[in-house]
């Protein structure tokens, strides 16, 4: 490869790796960014603006490094749970955590989808980001999930409860090993 070709290739490699580093840094600081004070900590906020610019996000999504690599790298689970109580026309009632999904792959994707219900969590002190829009989207999504489940299963009534999973702490280890979840939102549909 001629010298000019080397230079062009090295420049392209440099740009590519710089973008991977940018998104990884952003993902690594994501939790801190959420609680960042814009006035006193401008660097993380600027980083968020850069990482969310279309010039960077489009190639990042195509080439697959947009997810970043962080705490549970990359995006492998969720701490939110949906529970559907379905009253069928024959009078029987069933409880389901997955709305009709039958495959492991589908369920893994649904678990990632439930991250959206993080918007229902109560705001905490020092939180800068506006929580109202994510909360509304999360509520509307829970209602839509319930309505469509009712229509798909031709049920007389479907109730949906969205919860945040509570995991007992590792220390001190209690005798009781059961986990439960904290209800964040409930909706009830009677078509």
């Amino acid at each position: 490869m001629p010298r000019r070709g080397h230079t062009v290739a090295l420049t392209a490699i440099g740009i590519y790796l710089a973008q991977v580093l940018l998104f990884s840094t952003y993902a690594c600081w994501h939790n801190q960014l959420e609680y960042a004070d814009k006035a006193t900590r401008p660097v993380p906020t600027t980083l968020a603006h850069i990482a969310n610019h279309p010039v960077f996000t489009v190639p990042a999504h195509i080439c697959g490094y947009a997810c970043g690599y962080g705490f549970y790298a990359p995006r492998v689970g969720s701490h939110y749970l949906t529970e559907f109580r379905i009253d069928h026309r024959d009078g029987q009632a069933t409880i389901a955590h997955y709305p009709s999904l039958s495959t492991l792959e589908g369920r893994v994707r649904y678990r990632a989808f439930t991250d959206l219900f993080g918007g229902l969590l109560p705001a905490q002190d020092g939180l800068v980001r506006d929580r109202e829009l994510p909360r509304r989207v999360a509520r509307a999504t829970a209602k839509s999930l319930t309505q469509r489940t009712a229509a798909r299963l031709a049920a007389t009534r479907v109730s949906c409860r969205v919860g945040a999973w509570y995991i007992r702490p590792l220390r001190p280890a209690p005798v009781d090993t059961s986990s439960h979840y904290l209800t964040l939102f409930e909706t009830d549909i009677r078509p």
Binding site: G68, V76, S102, E105
Partner: protein
């Protein structure tokens, strides 16, 4: 710098494994997902798609809606047709019959399915896109050329693990085992997981050791994977970690993609190959990876029988 990037030869076996592995894994993943496709991406799916609108480009659900409006084809049928096209393209990639324009199309098509809208996506989809990107950059027609792509893939993996480790090391929960414990006790997973996980919760020290091992493994990856003496062991440990993730978290596809990328970058590239000499100028067409295995087995047999070796 130029020597580091341009004096390496991407072994045809590595290229072959990358194409075959990526195509096969993506095709298998989609075949497994097939029954749930209408629920996730169809117009009458789990949720109104207006609530999960795509901010990053054209999502497959939008294409399905458009096709259904434009033609008389039912939306679900259009969805299945597009899914069949995706699977066929991946199979062609796996058997080395997809030229680079086809791989480029597949990369963009993969994006419309998975990364244009992350509502129903997870890490494996993004890593799959990265694998397709590296397939695009390593054409099968020139398997033995000097290319910087191997170094790029290796550095990308180092960034993945370093930041994964850094993110974990910044808090205290991976150091005291709490994060590993929480990872194993995620909702849904708990209902399906064996009760041994709950039983192991009685031994916090075990989780502490596990958490520290993961942090050290990931933070040390960019260093020890380059050292010839430790490379093999670090690679084995990383593969073992991903096997554990597959078994205990149910993330089989994610783990398979990570293991594939690790093997391509740090196993196939460093094989002490005596069976298939690589000459940058010979222009020999690539063979599937199993063909190389056959040749290796034949060479061993010839040696035992007093025959020639390559």
């Amino acid at each position: 710098m130029k020597r580091f990037f341009f004096e390496t030869i991407l072994h045809p076996r590595a290229v072959s494994a990358l194409h075959t592995g990526t195509g096969a894994l993506l095709a298998i993943q989609f075949l497994l997902l097939f029954p749930d496709l209408p629920l996730l991406y169809g117009p009458d799916g789990l949720v109104d798609h207006a609530l999960v609108a795509s901010p990053h480009g054209l999502w497959i659900a939008d294409i399905v809606d458009y096709l259904a409006h434009l033609t008389d084809v039912a939306a679900d049928h259009a969805l299945y047709l597009l899914a069949a096209l995706y699977i066929v393209l991946n199979i062609l990639l796996a058997i080395h019959r997809l030229p680079w324009p086809g791989i480029l199309f597949l990369l963009l098509f993969h994006g419309t399915w998975h990364t244009a809208n992350d509502a129903f996506s997870y890490g494996a989809d993004y890593l799959g896109a990265s694998a397709l990107f590296y397939c695009l950059c390593t054409p099968l027609s020139q398997p033995t050329c000097r290319t910087p792509i191997l170094r790029l893939l290796q550095l990308h993996l180092c960034i993945i693990y370093f930041f994964g480790g850094l993110g974990k090391a910044m808090g205290v929960t991976w150091w005291n085992g709490e994060a590993a414990w929480k990872a194993m006790n995620q909702p849904y997973h708990v209902a399906e997981a064996p009760s041994i996980i709950g039983w192991l919760g009685q031994f916090p020290a075990l989780w502490t050791v596990g958490g520290v091992i993961v942090v050290v493994l990931e933070l040390g990856y960019p260093l020890f994977i380059w050292v010839a003496h430790t490379r093999r062991y670090w690679l084995y440990a990383t593969v073992a970690m991903h096997t554990g993730i597959a078994l205990f978290l149910g993330l089989f596809h994610f783990s398979a993609v990570m293991i594939l990328l690790n093997l391509v970058a740090f196993h196939y590239a460093y094989l002490d190959d005596t069976t298939q000499p690589v000459h940058p100028s010979d222009g020999e067409p690539s063979r599937p990876w199993w063909a190389a295995w056959k040749r290796q087995a034949a060479a061993v047999r010839d040696t035992r029988e007093g025959g020639i070796t390559y």
